[in-house]
Symmetry: D2
Subunit: 329 residues, 4 copies
């Protein structure tokens, strides 16, 4: 929202009026012709009423620029996934192995997760691997495993569509279609997924700006997706003490400024199992709609990403620590 | 801690034994002569007993490399600042204006802060400003203002020593000497501050690695400082949606892996007043020992950093939201 | 290459011997059992003869780890594109508009480029755009335009395959298939392109490490590509003074350490037409095999990326300045 | 420079007029009241004449905003250091060891450098080291060594003032006072150095923006420095294949847009001796006024930064390769 001042207006007084309403004034610009222009971004839309602001003494006009991503701006913070609402006060958990490794593993996992109140089972049938020689996932058959296991346990399925050729199969088996970080700007894939009309979990690219992320969501919604849940999983940083850099500010920004649902993946975010609990708590405190947590019956034998997976037998204790006041010091 | 295997040992089994104890195995390296070498970093020292690990079948030896920062490694998570312990279960708040602007402002601020249970008043007498033409702080006289105001209100003082020439004055008036981000590797300043033997609040440099930050703390402790509290205030990112990038993973890493006290500055971290509450809550959830929050009686007239300061009259409500379950959605 | 020392060897003397041969000793590691291990990376393979190094006094063994990307490591610095060798002493230029806008535009451009000695005409039939509402390219028909124009002018065609569905058409019309930055880790696309057996121009991802880039090349070669030319076009930085951050060190590293051909795109690299000449000269000086330069008959009317395009009428002068000693000061 | 349009002007035509003059139009903004505002940044001041631009049809006014760093903007591309002009067509070389290790070493080095036509001997008497336990330099006595050696060889001295306490000694012995990367925003040090009125070599901070770097120069000039030479030495990146990320775009930007002298340090920039030649050539091609190159009589015994130093005996050959056409492929 842009608040333009009249010539000769008392700019400091207008600023006081705006900040006095709890509004965040991000930039003050002066046009070439000398009129001061204040840009205001409202943290909560109900706080900023353009008509009311226009009545402040010294204000010439209040305009609301058309957003670059109108469908994303209009979506709102709650997305319905097969009847389950993601983005309410009750956090949603999405757990499971990095890769779907066998039908037995998937059933065992689903059974434990269901008993812990986890809503979604996650796991990759197709895996994006940096090396062409690494394990690439079991493919279509793994989609059948996870669907059957989820149905038996009364859970929902979230899994990644890695390429355009997998979209229809993933859409047929999954409740929520995942777009991986490396594909956040694979526009052909976004269009193909949009056409399935399924809700989507959109992971942020390794060095994507917030605006690029929102525009990737706009690709999905403008091609048919019924809802987009954003997923922060850590961006590229300069320090290898942790695998990635979890951008907790982006979580708060999407939730409280853009009013969108964000799920956080603290497993990939740090790449360290021992910090999943404090970072998961931090994510929920910053406004996350839920958490995606890697778990594996036996991480030491995992075909991919073992070091960051939580042993399935310890997941219940972890979920408990996520909602407790804080880690024992 | 490094766990070296015997020739021919069952490496997968040793890994299972280690992860089964809750240990995080960060890297597996193979030496030139063919012996597998596992590096283990223990999340909590009590979990990793070298003698017990050495008894695992297949383990040849367990060695603990000498840390590059022995004094920092030995300090522990609690630092005493004039009788107040920072780093316990009770979070500590450090609040005040960016710059100390007048004696009246400082007294008014201290009086309000004290009534809200805030332990430290903060504020700069000397300000590091990107431009030589920006306001540089009121200097020595402001140190007297803040000391008198804090004494009257029963509070402690934290303020920055910007240059070597200010160290003795700051040490005389402050309870906790602050090192700013731009000076994290100003080694002459670190040595001078160390010699005063005061406890120090060490802000992280804009692009400092964790290891560089810890070594800056080692400079302080090895030259006499009685304790170092680390302060995460956001690092340089690639997206200007937020002023900086708050590294919440670094907070958890320092608290739970290195066992050190970390205070978080969500005001500088994002540069947005409207996100101070969710990010402050996230910081505490990730293990922060406390928060540093900029506040000003009237942010619209602040001499520096107004847009990110919380109005003094709203601080009580903000502190309440920090300890409540979560933001209203 | 790893040079391991005998117990009790004079490590400083071995180091002198290695550096005396012009070798770059990147890391010195000490194994858990106390034997020093030196890692050596040879700048030019002919300088480092494992058998000769093994005869240095104090050396126990010299091992050459299997590279993670064997086909990329074996490719070499020259790639043949339809009879034209890219990577020789003679730099290759790839010029043209961002988007292929009309048949007339393409023919006019090809005619001028050919007269200037430019080998490749570039231009997008399919454009990756951050917003779904931006111009997405003219599609298949533009491939026909550019092929006919190139054939008439005796040039080669390089153009991007944006999605899996475009691969066969692009492979049918182009001499060199381009993979864009956003698709560097679109592994489904890499596999599909590999199967066409065409040579590929692989742009580096916005925040891709060197190793990730080389492994993306390995995907292409292991699925059939007849050669991979790498293209540095600027990575994500923290300063918006320039659109991207041109990583000139990566160019030298790929050329002189990994011995691979690299083309540099100074138009995208900085996003500023006025710096194309000095950066193009710098790229060639650092070992680039050629340059990709955006040009347009009338940049002010370009459908995309106008601000960085060089007017077609000024290209001849620019190419002249690229090979002259240096910019007039 | 800001070009504002009249209401109803043909914006596309004005843009064509501007780009037709070789001007780079960086941004087009639309004010709240609907008038288009074009921002123009001129690559060379002689190209953009405000009065002439104001006569373009449709232009309402042309304004030149006051720069944030007026003294830096006015300095120009040549700085005089004791009679030697830095920034002319003839590149200047600054060579020497990382640390000044002994009087004999310094004299031997100066004698060789002088015979090779190198203008400045460099080397640290005070060393900024990440660890407090690393060698910190020989201090004041080393300043005497390097001064005597330079005088004997007819060279100039550039050396770093690490702390405020060293400024007067360094200013007494050096011709050019160096500010290190970690101190780029140590404003107390900048003020103290400014007061000595000596010319300064200002290294860029690890993650400093161009604007922050220029403003640090403004601190120096506004406090008395007789000239500032900027030094690009690599910024913090995300890939540890190279020690730092050499920002060649910043070199061109400072030289051709801001018209300032820039010296490049390819030794620190990459941390690899084997790439000093191609990167040095690239820096000169991008407009660098000179190069700073670490050299050591015997790098394997250097007290600091040995791996990146060029052996003194090979420096002549290296300097020859810097001015030759290009590296043998």
């Amino acid at each position: 929202m842009i608040v333009s001042l009249k010539s000769g207006a008392d700019a400091a007084n207008v600023l006081r009026e705006l900040t006095g309403r709890g509004l965040w004034v991000s930039r003050v610009e002066r046009s070439a012709s000398g009129n001061a222009v204040h840009y205001v971004i409202a943290p909560h839309s109900q706080l900023a009423d353009p008509e009311e602001l226009a009545r402040i003494d010294g204000v010439a006009e209040v305009t609301t620029p058309k957003p670059a991503h109108p469908l994303v701006s209009a979506q709102g913070p709650v997305v319905d996934v097969g009847g389950l609402k993601v983005g309410t006060d009750k956090p949603v958990f999405m757990c499971g192995p990095c890769s779907l490794e066998s039908e037995a593993q998937v059933h065992e996992t689903a059974s434990v997760l269901s008993s812990l109140g986890v809503s979604f089972i996650r796991g990759g049938a197709f895996k994006p691997r940096t090396s062409p020689y690494a394990f690439q996932g079991h493919g279509d058959v793994a989609l059948e495993w996870v669907r059957r296991a989820a149905d038996a346990a009364g859970m929902r399925v979230v899994t990644e569509a890695l390429g355009e050729g997998h979209v229809s199969a993933v859409a047929a088996y999954a409740d929520l279609v995942q777009v991986g970080s490396r594909n956040m700007q694979n526009f052909s894939l976004l269009k193909a997924i949009g056409k399935t009309e399924k809700p989507v979990l959109l992971k942020r690219g390794m060095s994507a700006t917030i605006e690029e992320w929102l525009l990737a969501g706009e690709y999905l919604l403008s091609h048919g997706s019924k809802g987009v849940i954003f997923c922060e999983r850590g961006i590229r940083g300069f320090d290898d003490s942790t695998r990635n850099l979890l951008d907790i500010g982006a979580v708060a920004l999407l939730r409280y400024v853009h009013r969108l649902p964000v799920v956080v993946d603290p497993s990939h975010g740090l790449g360290r199992r021992d910090l999943v609990a404090p970072l998961g708590r931090a994510a929920l405190a910053a406004g996350a709609a839920g958490l995606m947590i890697e778990t594996h019956p036996d991480p030491s034998t995992a075909l991919s990403d073992g070091p960051q997976a939580v042993p399935l037998g310890e997941l219940g204790s972890l979920l408990g620590r996520l909602v407790s006041a804080e880690e024992a010091r």
